[in-house]
Subunit: 489 residues, 2 copies
């Protein structure tokens, strides 16, 4: 609950003072999650979980439209499975929790809690795939996964999280590469259209690739503190896992071939991204398409007219509901000001105020969470106006985030010295350092050095770069790629 | 894949020969699941998982309509949590798998893989509930759970399975008891209406209660081998967990009170039940409402007319799709007979055959999986007829299962000797022993003795018993309850 006195809640730290504290304050007070006694594991409370349910629906529909089906594989993975793909175990083994005992007995082989399912699924595919007629295999899984990381942050990095992982097997490299990019495009579409988060779409550098992949592609989002969140990834594995797990098929010429596999995933970190992209000092700002509550109706005015107002409000509430708007009334015994704060903090896109004067004028007041604008709306037009405004808010949130992005993209930094200067100035002026588009020679060491000195890492090599850079920001040699650099979650 | 020669697949063991083998043959060949190298853990393959998705949708809609919301709690549960409710730990500790190491270090406290979440959720509710205004709390969770049981059976008893678990907290016993029965009724509705499984609704005896509950209610289903599956349970916990986890609220008189809690669950064992209730010697028989494919279209006749037939079939396929029928065409290069067997084995409710003679007569042949009936249907009427037949099949499956039940309910067995005789005759004649309605004095020892001698256990005390029994089937003393006894999965 927010403070009961009205005005901006004093309990949410302003973003400019401490963005991390703002984030934690907001998700706690907006009742999206809670901490638990298990290290790094959170509860996804109903409003937090419903955001995930809406993301799931949007993704799942598109997965099915493109021919994928869901399945469910065991969560526990035998230790020996990890050893079959060398890079994969190096990448994941430092973070694995292990089951070593069950039903009172020590297990003969340790079982890992899945950090991702390439190994288990690779094993099963090797049983299921015999001939080219069995291909492609297009499967997705909705599941919980575990990565026992040192530092955790609710939604963005938790020991257990929820995600979807697609795993496909194809006869040819070409087809597998098409699949990889198709799924990246689905991610872009859902995240931009439903979550109103504009994305940077591109390819990861080799050092930032998925453990075991040939190529990794990502969609990356810029948070309001200028840091990046990797919002979704899609991997072309080549025949790496096929070789590790002996996934082979007889082709039309009766020759045994390895399949080409892909995997692709998005997770509950999308919830955290949405909050950090749209939220403000009053709390959450939720995109209408995924908001659990799209409209809250609050009676105002003196108590003697309240019965009349509430009666009319019930009527309007039913109208909005009948128009498939997710609406609720707040009839609690609190002041309107207190309620306004509460629902602002929870990020509800539209507030409708109704008082005795509104009744006289046959109108209601529609207030937008994102801009604070208040519009008087004729009661006959209410449902139509609400729908229109919800659409407008969805678009405006995206446009505003896009605007923020372009204001924090730095295209003129060409040397490490310039980057250092930029960071110094940002710090002195308490400015968001943002992202830097820079040339890179392709050498891992240059990349590592930049990271070490600035904590800026390569986000991705954009498919469409606003400019092409000619020299490496670190060594000054000829640039092989133009790359986005940023700090990241 | 079934044998390619047509006729009944020789690879499915007939039910009368060995029901368990029939079950395993069927689920493997119908491609619903696969075994994995992890003890007792299966893969839910796409057709198996889609059955679960449809059950989920039917349940979830009703949960939400009755005011519940979904959330997600950590899968790992600290060992100390289990010690807070004595009966609970006694019930579950023999089956728990434990995480003892993570990220290369031994954990200070072992973490159990949840077998159910009363303890974790109880702990969280104790943080969230302060006042009567916070009540009721109505939360459901869709999750994976673990019970490391000795003997496993796909879908019915696996080390890891999928389920939903509702957990609610209420101010009063009355309200909590109402919730318990409301959710049992939702289970009855979904299972009878969507899965076409008629149920026995009643209360569990104390020895068969959930570990920690005051009262457990169940819906039980009779399989075709006469055994029972407990298809769903709903528990009134009283204040047992509230006391274990200190879940208290200030009532309107400002007095601290313990909440009354409930929990209720159904799981992927519903998939197994559906198969064992409706399946036959040709394989699966799926109720149309949950069948992944409701209609399969197969071209027949000589190859020279095939192009013409397939062209028309595409047209009809689009019509059925537009009518929201889950339809597919099988245009593979196999004989019609082979395809008929394949789709019968997979339990698809309706097959549509189309050949050159049908084209001449402007008709298609509609074949029902459940009865084998073939109906010529005019092409103009096809979508309407298919819809009608799907409804008819759904109803007929339920009625046929109800008929089977009533033929295998034994109401005239009043002594243990009569039960022994009944079992002997059943065995000699290779008959399903079915269920026995008998009196019970209420003594745990009588119940245990019956189980020990006959492997018949109490299923539940029916809310509405066809007859009331006067004496205990074991001791002959006055009966306190009339109880269903059966063998069970």
């Amino acid at each position: 609950m927010v403070g009961k006195k009205g005005g901006i809640s004093k309990e949410i730290t302003p973003q400019s003072v401490d963005f991390s504290r703002w984030y934690i304050d907001t998700i706690k007070k907006a009742d999206l999650m809670d901490y638990t006694p298990v290290r790094g594991c959170i509860v996804f409370k109903p409003d937090g979980y419903e955001l995930w349910e809406r993301i799931q629906q949007a993704m799942d529909r598109r997965f099915k439209e493109t021919g994928h089906r869901n399945a469910y594989f065991p969560m526990l993975i035998p230790e020996t499975f990890f050893e079959k793909e060398k890079e994969h175990i190096e990448g994941f083994s430092p973070e694995l929790p292990w089951v070593t005992e069950a039903a009172g007995e020590k297990l003969e082989e340790r079982l890992a809690l899945r950090p991702t399912s390439e190994t288990m699924i690779g094993h099963m595919y090797s049983q299921w795939i015999q001939s080219y007629r069995d291909l492609p295999v297009l499967i997705n899984q909705w599941a919980n996964v575990f990565r026992w990381e040192k530092r955790t942050l609710p939604f963005l990095r938790t020991s257990e999280f929820l995600w979807q992982e697609g795993h496909t097997a194809h006869a040819t490299e070409e087809e597998a590469r098409e699949e990889t990019l198709q799924m990246l495009e689905i991610y872009r579409e859902v995240i931009e259209e439903e979550l109103a988060i504009p994305l940077f779409v591109g390819q990861k550098t080799p050092s930032e690739k998925f453990a075991g992949a040939i190529d990794t592609y990502s969609v990356e989002a810029m948070m309001k503190d200028g840091k990046s969140v990797q919002a979704g990834t899609s991997h072309y594995m080549g025949t790496n896992f096929a070789k590790g797990f002996e996934i082979k098929y007889l082709d039309k010429e009766n020759q045994l071939q390895y399949v080409h596999t892909t995997s692709w995933g998005t997770s509950t970190r999308l919830i955290g991204s949405m909050i950090m992209v749209h939220g403000d000092d009053h709390g959450l700002v939720l995109p209408p398409r995924v908001a659990p509550t799209q409209v809250v109706m609050i009676p105002v005015g003196p108590s003697k007219t309240r019965d009349l107002v509430v009666e009319k409000m019930h009527h309007l509430y039913e109208q909005l509901k009948a128009s498939d708007i997710r609406v609720r009334m707040d009839l609690r015994d609190e002041t309107p000001g207190w309620k306004f704060n509460e629902w602002e903090m929870r990020g509800v896109p539209i507030r409708i105020e109704l008082g005795p004067r509104d009744l006289e004028q046959n109108q209601a007041i529609l207030a937008r969470r994102d801009t604070g604008e208040k519009l008087p709306v004729s009661i006959e037009q209410l449902a139509a106006q609400v729908k229109e405004q919800l659409e407008a808010i969805q678009k405006d949130l995206f446009q505003r985030a896009l605007q923020f992005q372009s204001e924090h993209m730095h295209l003129q930094i060409n040397t490490l010295e310039q980057l250092h200067q930029h960071l110094e100035i940002s710090e002195q002026e308490n400015q968001v350092p943002g992202w830097v588009l820079a040339g890179w020679c392709g050498d891992d060491e240059c990349e590592a050095k930049i990271k070490q000195e600035t904590r800026f890492t390569t986000r991705n090599i954009p498919f469409q770069s606003p400019v092409e850079k000619e020299v490496c920001i670190h060594c000054g040699q000829q640039a092989k790629h133009t790359v986005w650099f940023a700090r990241s979650y």
